[in-house]
């Protein structure tokens, strides 16, 4: 008879140990990425989404929009498209987390001696991976429509670094929020409501045409800071005007602070909510 005995578990390092969180979070992230890769249609969708936005705004609305300070609208638009892809991390994790809660496999995860934060960490990490696919799609169509970065390769990469940081941060918002839904269907209703977050900003049009109250919201929207940071680092038009709102005067610093702030608030909330969800 074949022995069923597995090697005894390694000396129990607690589930809060940083190494455990990284290893277990990595295992869950890999699972999420595998889910994505097993649905080629979903993957194509993630690649094509930025192209649709570029088509709509670059060619349908673009002719009617005047770039502040002059310049090519599509050069103005692309940083906004990248920022939109970064903030869409919220919707991705809302859906994946809500879907997981309804699945039986979540019971197994909870009954296993894995890091308690592994599932949230895995979802946000996988959302970052999906974001890279979105960014790749956006970059391909950016090059196709004639967008260029004008300030050199290091600043080009620095902006992508900021986009990834912001994408990762928004994934945590999605996990914290997604835990409120009972299943994917509920989350699917909520995700379209997120659309204005990327629109009430400087992503597609200058904010100075908005009513004063809306302009304040738009200027302080973190998505505006991310967009402005990209415009600045890539030397794209729309940055030569003196902005009154503080985050737009220092968009790189604002993006970093927004991201760190979001993670600092949402990550502990998400982990705590995940721990207690369903236990009472």
């Amino acid at each position: 008879m074949r022995a069923l005995d597995a090697p005894p578990p390694a000396a129990a390092s607690p589930g809060t140990h940083p190494v455990r969180i990284l290893v277990d979070g990595g295992v869950i992230a890999r699972r999420q990425i595998e889910h994505l890769l097993r649905r080629p249609a979903g993957l194509v969708g993630e690649l094509a989404l930025p192209a649709i936005i570029v088509l709509l705004f670059g060619y349908v609305f673009g002719g009617a929009i005047e770039v502040p300070g002059g310049g090519d609208y599509r050069e103005y638009l692309l940083p906004g498209v990248f920022a939109m892809q970064a903030v869409s991390g919220i919707g991705v994790t809302i859906t994946t987390v809500a879907g997981d809660l309804a699945r039986g496999v979540m019971d197994r995860f909870r009954a296993m001696p894995m890091a308690r934060s592994a599932v949230p960490v895995g979802h946000t990490t996988a959302s970052l991976f999906t974001g890279l696919v979105n960014f790749l799609g956006a970059a391909l169509c950016a090059l196709a429509v004639g967008w260029r970065a004008h300030r050199g390769v290091w600043l080009l990469l620095a902006a992508f670094g900021l986009l990834c940081l912001f994408r990762y941060a928004t994934g945590w918002i999605g996990v914290a929020v997604g835990l409120s839904f009972k299943d994917e269907a509920g989350a699917d209703h909520a995700v379209p409501l997120l659309f204005p977050i990327s629109m009430i900003a400087n992503t597609f049009v200058p904010t100075d045409g908005m009513p004063a109250w809306l302009r304040v919201i738009a200027d302080w929207n973190p998505v505006s800071a991310v967009t402005a940071a990209c415009r600045q680092l890539w030397g794209n038009p729309g940055m030569d005007r003196t902005h009154t709102a503080l985050p737009l005067q220092h968009p790189v610093m604002a993006t970093i602070l927004w991201s760190v702030g979001i993670i600092a608030v949402c990550a502990p909330t998400a982990v705590w909510r995940f721990r207690v969800a369903g236990r009472h």
Binding site: R2, L4, D5, A6, V27, G104, V105, D107, P113
Partner: protein, 318 residues
């Protein structure tokens, strides 16, 4: 040996809003063998298992698995038990092999050990041919076997099986039963919840009957059966209206309260076991004008125990 305790439950209570799912459960499961937790739908079996596997916090009471407090020391307890449930807790969108490797990694096996362990379990549960297919394409029986395999990644001391055969066809059920017997042979204690008396009767060395959040009886299936008399007589009458007169005659003749099977025309009674008792009862029924359509003498089953303890047939909701 034989005196060790695998699971100890003391006064565990759990309430969901106005519903008292568990009302102070006390239980001791000895190490080794299969322990059956028997009860109808809604009796609290699943709630009890969820408390014991750290998925739910009890409102009151204490519970230990392999001597470890499942509330105070949940993380350590999670190394000692395995859980396989009514709903296969595996990832539908991964392959069978992918599932087992993932769980093995989460149980802290190295990548190489996880691969080896996954292969062993796939072979052990005869899943090699389906190993690289995604689980969504598996049959019900295959899913349960994968679920069982996943709960055995680190040979647990105690394996909780929550209604492992609910919804399975007879073949799938037989597969799970075989797997359970093999496991017990390797020294694992199995705690099995079921609403099927046949299952508890076939697999369990000892059972506890739960009803409305309380343990209402416990013992070996044999001991519980003894509660209902040595042999049982089933009388089927031509019409439902004939059941009451038949029961009256049987009650007077045996001194034991007969059972009117709900939804049938059968009256069922225990007998004292005296020689010639069946013939005597038939004569008395005949003399009272009760027509016997069908007659059966049988050994009591856990069904009888259940009906007697709870006043309901198995499978009927509480």
């Amino acid at each position: 040996m034989g005196h060790e305790t695998a699971v100890l439950v003391e006064g565990v209570a759990k309430r969901f809003g106005a519903t008292r799912a568990l009302r102070g459960v006390d239980l001791r499961v000895p190490a080794g063998g299969v322990f059956g937790v028997l009860g109808p739908n809604g009796a609290g079996k699943t709630t009890l298992v969820r408390v014991l596997t750290t998925l739910l916090l009890p409102d009151a009471g204490r519970a230990f698995v392999d001597g470890i407090d499942v509330v105070a020391d949940a993380e350590r307890a999670r190394f000692r038990f395995g859980l396989a449930g009514q709903y296969a807790a595996v990832d539908e969108q991964l392959t069978g092999r992918g599932n087992l490797r993932m769980f093995a990694r989460l149980y802290r096996l190295s990548p190489r050990a996880a691969r080896r362990r996954a292969d062993e379990l796939l072979e052990r549960f005869e899943l090699i041919p389906a190993a690289d297919r995604i689980v969504a394409t598996y049959s019900g029986g295959m899913r349960r076997r994968l679920d069982l395999a996943a709960s055995l990644v680190v040979s647990p001391s105690v394996l909780f099986l929550d209604e492992p055969t609910t919804g399975l066809d007879p073949r799938g059920r037989a597969e799970v039963w075989t797997a359970v017997r093999d496991l017990v042979a390797t020294g694992t204690t199995v705690v099995l919840t079921t609403q099927y008396l046949e299952e508890a009767d076939r697999l369990a060395d000892a059972v506890a009957v739960i009803d409305s959040g309380r343990v209402v009886a416990r013992g070996a299936p044999r001991e519980l059966k003894a509660m209902t008399g040595s042999e049982r007589l089933e009388i089927t009458v031509p019409a439902v209206d004939d059941m009451a007169p038949a029961a009256r005659v049987l009650r007077a003749a045996t001194g034991i309260e007969p059972v009117l099977r709900p939804g049938s025309r059968t009256v069922d009674t225990g007998m004292g076991g005296a020689p010639g008792e069946v013939a005597r009862l038939v004569r008395e029924l005949d003399a009272a004008g009760v027509v016997i359509a069908h007659l059966n003498v049988r050994r009591p089953s856990l069904d009888d125990v259940f009906l007697r303890l709870t006043g309901r047939a198995t499978g009927q909701a509480a």
